[in-house]
Amino acid sequence: MRLVVKFNLVFLLVFLIGLATAGYVSEQLLQRNARDEIVLNARLVMESALATRAYTSTQVGPLLQTQMKYAFLPQSVPAYAATEVFAGLRKTFPEYAYKEAVLNPTNPRNRANDWEADIVNQFRNGLDKPEVVGERDTPGGKSFYIARPMQIKAEACLYCHSTVDAAPKTLVDKYGPANGFGWKLNEVVGAQIVSVPTDVPIARANAAFKTFMISLTVVFAFIFVALNLMLWFMVIRPVTRLSKFADAVSQGENMDTSDFPVTSRDEIGVLTQSFNRMKKSLVQAMKMLEG
């Protein structure tokens, strides 16, 4: 088997092992990074929603109190403001879903469904965690979610959610007297939940993985070609030429010709010099025998 074939076989074996190892490690890393990125973005969404709610309840709501006596203004409702802001964010991040799931909401649209109610009750029952992260099965596949408790911390929140008599009449007109009342200070009334289909981080990780592996393969291919060329020009070709010359000398040819040219100072050059000395010794020996 020729040297270049042996070399390439070894090289391919090493390449495949390296590629498999790099692929496995990078896939795990990329999946984790994609998940972390999703979690970070989800937290940003939640924090922006919280900030919007606080701004609305402390600054916007009081300014609209008089107007609310004339007509209901949803812009004074923190949940509405947060939802509207998120709708704008969703244009950039369409894969995210945000809901303020509440056990006893004013707007029935915000009522917590079964799994959301379970999460809310976890927080209400004293779960000592700032957030809950998990996955659940949905008809469309696995879904990744982050949930944080919504706790009433400002008196301003109770303006619309304490008693029917205290709430703006226009709000009661719109939503009725049965929903969204009886909230208390420091009570956990619901949860902010951001959901993302699990496919999303997996797809991101896979896309990055594919790009990485293709890049790695291209680099390996380039190295393969470069090494082969180097091997050919620096080892195979000079050795082949030396081998042909040695072969001719062994058959009695080229005995009177000049030495094989030494073109490098590396191991091939040393081998050439050794061969030339050996040829000289052989010529002298043959002359002594003839003489």
Partner: protein, 298 residues
Amino acid sequence: MRIVQLRRWALAMMACPLAAAAADQTVTVTLLEGPTTLVRGVTRYALAEGVRLQPGDILEVSDKGLAEMEFTDGVAVAMGPKTRALALSVPHGKPAPGDFYVTQGALKLANAKQGARVRVVTPFFILQAVDGTFVLVLSGSEGSVFMESGEARLASRHAKGTSPTRLKSGDFFTGDDNKGNVTARPTPAFVAVLPKVFLDPLPSRIARYKDRQAQPRRVDLVTYAEVETWLKAPPEIRRPMPARFHSRAADPAFRAALVENLKFHPEWDPILFPEKYQPKDSEAGSGTAAPPRPADKR
């Protein structure tokens, strides 16, 4: 005796701050948007911020204008576009109730406190603020009142002796008398015609004009058309008009209009045709005077 004198002196000293405060009671125009016409006496003026209202002032807000005036005790009255009002009585250097006769437009009265003496008289009813804030809109055939906060009493202009209707916070009244329809919410149609500024608390700018008074810019003497509404107002409203606009009867155009519309304000007859009311020579000689032949009275 000396004790009595001392007591009287002490009471007088106690009354001085009150007297001084009462003397400062005024109504000042503190916010204007767009032109508002002021008719004072027989002259038309362009109203300006800082002008202090006087009894008898007539205000007419332009189509897209807004005028707000504030009493020294904190009561604020804002008039929306196309509102026309006559200040029947306003405090002007001495205590007086604030009485406005409003014929059309939208008006918001805010910050009335217990004991506030501010009334709004309309062609349909008389609205007396007990405390709080109300908004009034007059259409051609009825008036609507929304109690933003507090309480008001709504009395009939036509049925004397009937008990007033009490309006409490949140009530919405519609009617052409004091016995109209009261509901718990203002209608969307009512809210739609309100100036946007009426939906918020009225701004207070009285501090700017506390020690500063402006004068309105004189425009011209009034024409009949410009004061026709007031000359044809209900009798108790237009009673002082002849004495007020008497001098304008010398203007030929004004006089001609007075004569043409005499049936709407017959009290002008003696001014326009004084000769009808002069005693005849024959009756003067016999010692009896023929009674004047009055025009038709409304």
